[in-house]
Each structure stands twice: as C-alpha cells, then as structure tokens.
Amino acid sequence: MTDLPTSPFPALLVGLPILVATLSLFFRPRGKAVVGLMGCLLTGGLGLIALVEVMQQGTVIHILGGWDPPLGILLRMDSLAAVFIGMTAVVGVFISLYAWWFFRAREATNGGFPLFWPLWLFLWAGLNGLFLSNDLFNLFVTIEVIGMSAVALAVLSGKTAAQIAGLRYLLAAITGSMAYLFGVALIYGSTGTLDLGLLRQVLEPGATTTFALLVITLGLMIKMAGFPFHFWLPPAHSSALAPVSALLSALVVKGAFYILLRLWMEVFGVSITFSAGQLIGLAGAIAVIWGSWQAFMQTSLKLIVAHSSVAQLGYLLMIFPLLILAPGVAAGSADWLSPAWTAGVYQVMAHAFAKASFFLSAGIIIMALGHDHKGSLRDLASRMPMTVMAIGIAGVSLIGLPPSGGFFAKWMLLKGIFLSGQWWWAPVVLAGSFLTAGYVFMLLRLAFATAREKEPFRPVPKGLEVCALLLALGSFLIVLPAEYLIQFLESSEAFGSGIQSIMEGGTYGND
C-alpha cells in the first residue's frame, strides 16, 4: 500500500474547494459568485491535472496525517477514481459556467442565489473526497457532506415544492447513511479495521458480514435512488434550480453508485452470491423500465428529465449481475467483465454529460418561457435552436444511439450480457432505449411543432445555451478516447475484476 507514489493532489482536491468555499463566505453576493466561479475553475483544473498525474504515474496515494491505515486514513487515487474525478471536473466546470450566467441573469429578481457557490464547492469537495476515500467511515462523512450540500442546493430556490422534496430527500439520505453506518459499525466490530484495502484481506464471510453487506447495499441503494427507493429523486431533482438539478443528477447520485460498486467488488466479495447480483440487476431492470415509462408519462420537462435519471441509474445497477461469476466459472475465462465495467463507467460519464446538458437546457427553457410545461415547448426549435439541439444530442446519448457515450455504454453492456450468457437482460436494455426514445422525441416533436399561440419569450444569455450544447457534445466526445481510456482504467485494481460467487449456502453461518 505504501509503496505507491504519494501525491499532494488527493488532499488538494478535497481541501481546495472547501477553502475557497470558506473564503467566499466573506464576500458580498457578487463577489461570492466571482470567487465561487474561480474556485470552480480551479477545482476543475485541479481535477484534470490530477487525472493527468494518474495517467502518468499510475495509482497515487496520500496518507493523511502521515498515519498509515488502519489507524489513519488513506486517500487513494487509482485510475477509476481519477476518471470519475476528471469527469466531475469537466461537467462541474461547465455547470459552474452555466450557473454564473444563469444566476447573473436573475440577480435582479432573486438576488442571484449567492449561497449556490459555497454549497456547490462543498459538494464538489465531497465528491472528490468520496472518489478518493479508502476508508469506510470516511466514506460516510463524505456522503454526508454530499448529501447535505445536495439537499441544501436542492432547496435553494425557496419554492415550497422544492422544500418538501428536499426534506424527503434529506430524510431518505439520512436513513440511507445510517443504514450504511450500521454496516460500517458491524464491519469494524468484526474486523477492527476500516480501510478498504485491509478489509479485503481480513473480512471473513459470516452472518455479520452478510448483514453488513445488506444494510450497506440498501443504504447506498436509497442514496443512489435504486429502484424501489427512487421516490425522492424525481421531485427533488425536478424542483431544484437548473444548475442544481444538473449537478444532482449528473454527479451526486453517481457517488453512491461508486461506493456500492467498489464495496461489492473490493470488499464484500467473500459473501456475495450470483443470485444476489441478479436481484440488484433486477432492481436495475425494473428501474429502467419504470423510470422510462414514468418519464414518458410526465407533463413537465424537468419531471421528465428527473424520471429519466431513475431509468439511467437502473442501467448502472444492471452491470452488477455481470460482475459476479456464477459458481464454477473461472475469473480468467470471464471475458465479459471488462465490457461490463466499461459499460458502467461509460454509462456514468455519458449520463453525467447528457443529463447535465438536459437539465441545463430545461433551465434555459424555463428562463425563457417562465415555466416548463411540455406543451409550451412548441415551436422551440425555431426560437432556440441551440437549446433544442442540445436536448436532441443529449437525448440521443440517453437513448444510446451511436456514436454517443450512451451508445458505447449500452454496447458494452449488451456485449457483456451476451458474453456472459445472461441474455435475459438484453430485452430490458432495448426496451429502455425504446422508451427513452419515446420521451426524448416527445420533447423534440413538440419543439418542432408550430406554436398554437405565441407565448411571451424572454431572451436568454447565449453562454447558457453554449454550455448546454457543449455538455451534450461531451456525451459524444467521450467515445473518442474510449480505447485509451479503457486501457487506462485497466490499470485500476477493481476495473475488470469480478467476484467469485460463493457456493449457495456454503459459508453462511459456519462460525
């Protein structure tokens, strides 16, 4: 563990945003925005530099306080974390730029929401911390930072609906965290360590481990709005301010997924069964169908987009069954692991870009029209072609049409599905695409329709539209470096690994 190169970046990635956030509190609203934006650009730049650093040096670590685990905390930045951080950086920078124009445009009426900036920086720090963390308890703290700042951002608009949704979100988040923490407590009790690397070596299968796995999984499922627990997501995401919605759906939910994936892959391998993976996959599959269908049935733009997040997160869960090898399958022969991992990573990235763009576009529309009932989208294509373009491109990525990132992810997912022989997931992937196409094109259809009556239309800063469009394009551009990226990711320990399923009933309760 300690033989890996040390780098200051992990510490900076968490420290700097919070420092800037703290600093920004001293400024007046306008200054807060300036400092916040600067901080965002700085953090984004830092994230990208860190990504490059990892590309050059391989996995880097930062031993906080100089205390080795298990007593101390280790920040570890492997290629997987680096990619997530890099993604957060890019998406974050664009959303920040958008937010800058967005809030400036409404400064006069709403005061410009200066709190956005420190909260967003806190959120960013939390995300970076989460991706870097190698410690179960520290993960808890980071998800709490993320959770609180996310809810705070979600209620920032001050609207009643947002606040009710925010409270629901917050309660769900707390419940999820507590469940997670319960699992952490049990793990600590049974192993005496919190460090993921050590845990992998010392964790023994047994009733406690299984239970800990259960509550941790469920807790994280709640936080990432996995299928039966998606209840908080659509209202919260849809009622927030546009840049916030973008942040929440593009980045925040991914955090919980990231932990869940890492814990399953790196820590709890000893007690995971093939069929458990199937259940997670099933939850994902239902989420895909249900979320897409619900999105299809919604009448307001942001609700559509929010429900769509539920579905898109479902795809993420669907890689779990592929990563667990049925009893008797040798890890060496499982050639579907790499595609499945690629699918997961790409789905995260593609969704981050596309959904961010989608929400930002929704924000533009709301700014222009004053509301986002889908009926009012009529004739938008001629009034705001760039925004419609952004929606179209982002939507295409969500659907998974080539050559978007979403396509790449679905390609890899399907490939994994076929290679592993778990063909029953394939129809779900397709049905999901199909339904997604349903709502995406419902929007476009309206955008191209001629307006029945001319609604008042406020002009929107061009910068907003450019940000949304660039993000949408980003969801396509991520495919270009795919080969290199996969190669890079393969240097991470987790990437491409699978869990050997324990034999049914073999090891449970034999203590």
């Binding site: 200051p8 510490a11 968490v14 420290g15 919070i18 420092l19 703290t22 001293f26 007046r28 609203p29 930062h62 031993i63 906080l64 306080g65 100089g66 205390w67 298990p70 007593l71 101390g72 905390i73 009426t109 709403n110 200066p114 709190l115 909260l119 806190f122 911390g129 308890f137 520290n138 703290v141 980071t142 709490e144 930072v145 609180m148 700042s149 809810v151 705070a152 951002l153 209620v155 920032l156 608009s157 001050g158 609207k159 009643t160 606040q163 925010g166 049990l186 600590y188 009790g189 049974s190 005496g192 360590t193 047994g206 406690t208 299984t210 239970f211 800990a212 259960l214 309760g509 203590d511």
Partner: protein, 328 residues
Amino acid sequence: MSVLIDLLLAILTVYLALQCLLAQRLSQSVFLFFAFGLALALAWVRLGAVDVAITEAAIAAGFMGVLFLDALRDFSPAVSENQEDLKAVQNPPSKNATKSLLLPRLALGLGLGLFLLIALEAVWKTPDGGGLTAAAVALLPESGVEHPVTAVLLNFRAYDTWLEIGVILLGLLAIYAAGGINLYRKPGVAAKDPLLRQVILFSTPVLFLFGAFLLYFGKTGPGGAFQAAVLWGAIGIMLHLGGWPVFAVLPRWLGQLILTLGLGFFLVLGFLFMARGDALFEYPPAYAGILILIVETLAAISIAAALTTIYANINQMQEEPKQNESTT
C-alpha cells in the same frame, strides 16, 4: 448486578425510543426524546465512553432537544395532536382508506420484525475483530496528546474531524438555504424576559469556564472541542434567548471569521505542512500538542458560533413573514 443495571438501562432506552415515536402529542415526543438522549448518555458512560456521553448529552439530546422544543412553539399551536388525527377528526376517512393503511402497516411491521431478528443475529454473532486499541496505544505518544480519543479525533483521523467541522458549517449554510434567506440577514431579537436575562447573565461566565476546562482537559481525558463548543454554543443560544443577539452586534466580517475560523485554520495549517512536503494534517510530533490545542480551540469557537447561529436562524424562521414565492 452491573448486568442488571445495564439491562434495565437498555430496556429503558428502548422503551423511551419507542414511546418517543408512539407518543400522541408532539410535546411528549420531544420530552421523551430528551429523556432518551439522557438514557443513551448513561449508556455511553456505562460503556466507558465519557466523551461520547458528553457529546450526546450536549449535542444530540441538548442542542437537538432545544431545537425541537423551539420547534414545538411552531407546530400545531392549539392542540399538539398528531396531524393525521386532527385531520381524521375533521374529515372522517372512508373505510377503504383505513383499510389501505392497515395492510401496509402490517406488512411493515412484519418486515421490521424479520429485520430485527436478522439484525440481532448479526450483531450477536459479530466476530471479535480486536479493534484498533492496540494501534492507538502504540502511536499515542507520537500524537502529541494523551487522551486517545482526542488523538484519534485530531490527529489520527483529523481528516474526518476536519470534514465534520465542515459539515457543521455546511449545516449552517444549508439552513440558510432552507430558509430561503440570504446569508447576510442578521438574526432578529427574541423575547425579553427580565428574569431570564438575569439568569443568563449569571450563567454565561460559568458555562464559558466550564467549556474552556473541557477543552483543555480534552488533551488528557474526556472532553474536547465538541464538548466545549456545545457549552459555548449554549452561551450563545442563551444570550440570544435573553435578547442579546450576539451575531447581530458583531461586525459581519467578524461573525464570519468566527464561523469559519475553525475549519479554515485547520485546513490552512494542514496545507502549510503539506507545503513543507508532509501529508495533509501531518504535524511534527514536537509541536503536535500545541497545534492540536490551537486547532481545537478555534474549532470549538467556530462550532459554538455555528450552533448559535443555527439556533438563531431556526428560531427566527417563524417570525419571518411568509416570503414571496420566488419564481424560478
């Protein structure tokens, strides 16, 4: 004998928790919550976790309790009945509605029961992992403090603690956000009961000293930044209650400085040493003790300020006129 006490305490805790949630009146709930917190604090003491006990009593039971109490003034002013009961009286639910509620509740109960059984089995069968006591003991001398909990908090796992201070500040920001208010609105003035003011005036220095003691003592024994901070925070709250809105008097920049000092200094210090080539939050063993003390003190001040401000802000919400819906 001690087992019996523990058993009784355990049963009491569970009972209080149950009652707290089952209580018909909200005020009952809140009081039971106080009691629950205290019972839990007792349990901490029984388990040898005095630091935790103090924190629990001060923050979880004390601070939260005060906030809940304060909230009581808000909710359902006339009758403290549960909302659903009130509504049930106002418009009697149809048979279907009750039925539709009953079944899910039964299912929930069943689920909870099974969950409990499984959870009990799991905790019961937890293998002995050994903990980190030995490691902590071994490294304690290098940490610069003598109290192991403080060592863990402010040195071994300083990162967590730093983040946690951040969470408190974040909580404050979040509450601002929840209020839909701007950061720069100063807390208003509360009631002015002369007797109360006297009591508050009297107790302020006492609390301050006790807090300082706890803070300093934290180096060697139970106590530390959080505990001190709660006491100092209590001062702020009481002053606020007494009509001396602390943060209203201070210049804005000062208030902000106080709020952010703990977090900021902690981090800047960490960065300074990092610039030297060390890791973040790595203190040279020689100066560790004093640095930790400074950090702790500043953290305590900031936390106290944050708690005060939180209280003040939450408290103030009710007085604020219904804000015009900001159209987004």
